[in-house]
Amino acid sequence: MARMDVIDYQIFGSEMQYVEIELDPAEAAVAEAGGMMYMENGIEMETVFGDGSQQKSGFTGALLGAGKRLLTGESLFMTIFINRGSGKKKISFAAPYPGKIVPMDLKELGGQMICQKDAFLCAAKGVSVGIAFQKKLGVGLFGGEGFIMQKLEGDGLAFIHAGGTLAEKNLAPGEMIRVDTGCIVALQPSVTYDIEYIGKIKSALFSGEGFFYATLQGPGKIWLQSLPLSRLASRLYSAMPGIGRGREEGSLLGGLGGLLDGDN
């Protein structure tokens, strides 16, 4: 595991947040290309191919990492921000849509987190952003998150972002919670993620909840979002003059339509 940088941070705003990170000299943070809002003089930006966690892996390694990033819907490049000045410098990253930014201490969480793709905002240098492939066909198709999620690995601090208000829940061993598809933001790898048929054909058709729930079974910690971006987008879309109703979220066709994409 690469060396982690310890970073201090502060989150500003309520519904449309940004996180300000304080970098000590020679400390660095990685972020999704395009997420930076402002940085103080002395911080230098460096764009790397792949996810920047392994600096010595060579060309093929970088290419492989970059390919994985394409799968998760990220851009091919990541940006590293290094404080080359003397003294502490601040840099901030903004969330791309209304929602909350959640800090995650990966060290405390057991070194690994799985989150919705596109959820990653920024992290201390050394955190690697990989893919977690959904191994259950049904979950991939109907679970609301698609086949591909992001896997954050390392011992540092990572920031993820999701829509609406975020609910943080701790599941005891064996405790199970049913979640609307598309509302899962992040989970510990110890949590079992599955789907459950809604039960009655009448509810499946008319309840508006789709055909399946996502189920999460503990032990472990999970984060849920109150407003998946796709839901917001579909409301905005259907409210747009001249376009009419957009695609219904969580429907059978929607799941099939975005075969690889899932809900979000």
Partner: protein
């Protein structure tokens, strides 16, 4: 004895799990080995389930007091040791665990294959077509009736005619029609023979029976028998439905290309007609037309030597490539094959064609 660090969950400890060192011993799972809080969980007290994001972790659950505790084995080495050291009393649960994980794995493999198939389908289709294209084209062509082929040919000819200056009825056209009709006696098509004014040495056939000979070809010929050889050859292209096969072939490719690229290049009749003149027959088709043409010549009692002399003379002329030959097999092989076929068919008595060749040439030169 190997030690692992795993996440354990339970009441009173951090809800997202606490990193706990464990050791898997013959008597059970030892928590925090060597520490003052060391604790041994006998195998009998453990419940084994499959779980985790990948559905392949071993979740061990036990009760202590009122609370339910669990720890998660996700390290492959730890799982292996646990599976091998667990006593037979746990066997049913382990079998259950294996069943669940392997089911997920099987499902994933199946899903992967399905997905790959779905994505590769157009490619596979293309490959199949490339491999079996001739057979497929033949099969499709068989399904087209002679009547509709002739209809289609008329349509194509109407289009092609716009680019051609047809020679008005006269001695030359009469000769071409007369010779041609000798080959068309048993044909399922109403053959039509045309002469077009064009200095290139070429002739082409349209599905359904339209054959066009260029004046350049007649001028280059030394006798009516030589023209007859070419006409028989073109007639065979029609009778063997070579251009139709070529078109079906090409159409099939278009479908595949459209599937692969998602685009359908405009496929109008006009475009098809424009392609007709450049439509290249395969070498096999050319040889087939050659050999079958000889049978036609035999039936019509026309001397086949004209065919050999015409092609071999043309191929000797260096310089400008002659369109009629550019797509044809090497002429030496070709003449050889023709001679062999004549031998096979057995020589036949030929009546000389009743045309004054010099007269016809003179007429053309005017």
């Amino acid at each position: 004895m190997e030690r692992f660090e795993v996440l354990s969950f339970g009441p009173g400890i951090r809800p997202h799990g606490e990193r706990t060192p464990i050791r898997i011993a013959p008597e059970g799972v030892v928590l925090r080995p060597g520490e003052p809080t060391e604790e041994t969980l006998p195998f009998e007290a453990l419940r084994v389930t499959a779980g985790g994001f990948d559905h392949n972790q071993i979740a061990l659950t036990w009760t202590k007091g009122e609370g339910i505790w669990s720890l998660i084995l996700s390290d492959p080495r730890a799982k292996e040791i646990f599976l091998t050291t667990a006593p037979p009393s746990l066997a049913p649960q382990l079998a259950q665990w294996r069943k669940r994980t392997s089911r997920v794995q099987r499902g994933m493999r199946l899903g992967g294959i399905l997905l790959a198939l779905l994505l590769l389908l157009p490619l596979l289709l293309g490959l199949a077509l490339w491999w079996k294209s001739d057979v497929l084209a033949e099969w499709a062509v068989h399904r087209i009736s002679y009547a509709s082929e002739a209809q289609f040919g008329n349509l194509l000819f109407e289009q092609a005619r716009l680019d051609l200056t047809l020679l008005p009825e006269g001695e030359t056209t009469k000769m071409v029609q007369e010779i041609g009709n000798r080959f068309a006696k048993e044909a399922p098509y109403p053959f039509q023979w045309h002469v077009a004014e064009d200095p290139t040495i070429n002739a082409f056939a349209i599905p359904g029976g339209h054959v066009v000979v260029f004046t350049g070809l007649i001028e280059a010929a030394d006798s009516a028998e030589e023209v007859a050889g070419v006409l028989a050859h073109e007639a065979e292209h029609v009778l063997q439905r070579h251009s139709l096969k070529g078109m079906v072939h090409q159409l099939g490719w278009r479908v595949v290309v459209a599937l692969l690229i998602g685009e359908w290049g405009g496929g109008s009749v006009g475009e098809a007609a424009a392609q007709l003149q450049v439509l290249k027959f395969g070498r096999d088709q050319e040889s087939e037309a050659d050999l079958k043409a000889l049978a036609l010549l035999k039936k019509a009692e026309i001397d086949p030597k004209g065919m050999i002399t015409f092609f071999s003379r043309l191929s000797k002329e260096e310089g400008v490539p002659i369109p009629l030959l550019s797509t044809h097999p090497p002429s030496a092989d070709r003449a050889e094959a023709i001679r062999a076929e004549i031998k096979r068919l057995g020589p036949w008595k030929a009546k000389p064609l009743p045309y004054d060749w010099n007269q016809i040439k003179k007429k053309l030169a005017e």
